[in-house]
Symmetry: C2
Subunit: 302 residues, 2 copies
Amino acid sequence: MASSTVQPISLYSAFDRISAEIDTLFEHLLKAPEDARARLYDAMRHAAVGGGKRLRPLLLVTIAGLFGVERGAAIRAAGAVEAIHVYSLIHDDLPAMDDDDLRRGKPTVHKAFDEATAVLAGDSLHALAFELLADEAVHGDPFVRIELVRILAEASGPDGMAGGQMMDLEADKQGYDLHTVTRLQQLKTGALITASVEMGAALGRASEEARTALRGYARDIGLAFQIADDLMDVEGDEEKAGKALRKDEAQGKETFVTLLGLERAREQAHILTEQAVGHLHGFGAEADLLRALARFIVERDR
Amino acid sequence: MASSTVQPISLYSAFDRISAEIDTLFEHLLKAPEDARARLYDAMRHAAVGGGKRLRPLLLVTIAGLFGVERGAAIRAAGAVEAIHVYSLIHDDLPAMDDDDLRRGKPTVHKAFDEATAVLAGDSLHALAFELLADEAVHGDPFVRIELVRILAEASGPDGMAGGQMMDLEADKQGYDLHTVTRLQQLKTGALITASVEMGAALGRASEEARTALRGYARDIGLAFQIADDLMDVEGDEEKAGKALRKDEAQGKETFVTLLGLERAREQAHILTEQAVGHLHGFGAEADLLRALARFIVERDR
């Protein structure tokens, strides 16, 4: 699928390309078998194919590309991260959790199917992520594959994404301060964004120095992403976002916006973006997409 | 903890020993952090510590022992299998799934905590399983570790346990025949039992010949286990079982008992047990525990 004429790839065409590639991967992996499991595969495809920004896959694949990793292999690792992200959305949307009816402009899985199927579709995507990483198509060296497993498992478990979601559920009971909201968001969304970056670097066997710089980049865009999300919840357009907004206020939750105010939150997001770009100073023009991505994250409307 | 006097270890003391070891591992791994995630860790410990037969860990550790694997390492791999098993019980017990209030003689996680915490505790144990396998404490060779990941991920995903649970949920709509119920059970419980055996063999770098024999053993005890479960659902004592029984009939589900009748189901379980023991003919007295285990599986009352 590589273009034969060399030209600067814009961020939007990069998003389009990775979305198509991830859709193709999931369509291939999630062909429904001819038995009662067909419903499970249908639910997995409903959630995993044809929606979302694919921010995490784009990060992973772009960073792997900096180190010359074959794109097809990077796409499979990116599919693992996206499978974890999608499973978390399915479970977070459940009535017992955030109780959302709409996601990526479509009915959520428990609405389109039922709650039991949604629980299982999430669980199945969770397992699928590690199946993908164990397969040698991701990398010939088992040492690299097991490193990918370690990064992704840590980032998605109780010391990562799931732990952040627990803190979020407890938020209304506890009245968090800025420090705690920052920690919550570093776990809930930051951990998987950082994992995407680290997995790209691990696939490319990047030097310790490069990994440290990229980790700094990831931490900053992760936090900027969340502040932008909080701003969108207040200022955004539900139709563009493809999901329900104004939820934080309705639930009386502390967010970066309630704790910092609109103005300072916006400012903080921009500071983080510039800081993220600063971490890339050792990389040349081939990291321009990552620079554009950092800026996009605070300017997006969905 | 090894005894200094050599003596035949009875099956019951083997169960006691592995239970204590798995409890110690989970107590160690699941120390609650001093933040709002404490509730998540409490829920994970509630489900993972101090209950259950630990059949899968016992299988894995015993088979690893046949090939001289260091016990501490095997216990960590066994903890991964048990973490997957426990997560599946938490999710299966949810109101949207089997809606059970009692498990291993204790309130289920969504009863003792709440549904959202139960979903997250399951998800966290799921991720923890792969964290455990990625850690080099399980085996120094990354090739062995990634093989463990592959076996466990495949056995727990849509082509394994989660797929079997989906078939089970669809059972009342479709009216399964014996072939389909067998397939369902091979996925729902058989896959993880077989994975326990295969992981023990992988840890011990067993020969292809030994693995084939052990896989045959696993397949037969897995099916015998499920037939025994169906028999227990009809004939068992709820207090001993520590969970609600007579559910299959109430739900009008086809089981080995409804399809074969009590007599033939009992007979079939015993045939499978003898067949399982037959697969072990190439192993000496060191496999006696596995032989006893095969017989225990059809004679247990919990």
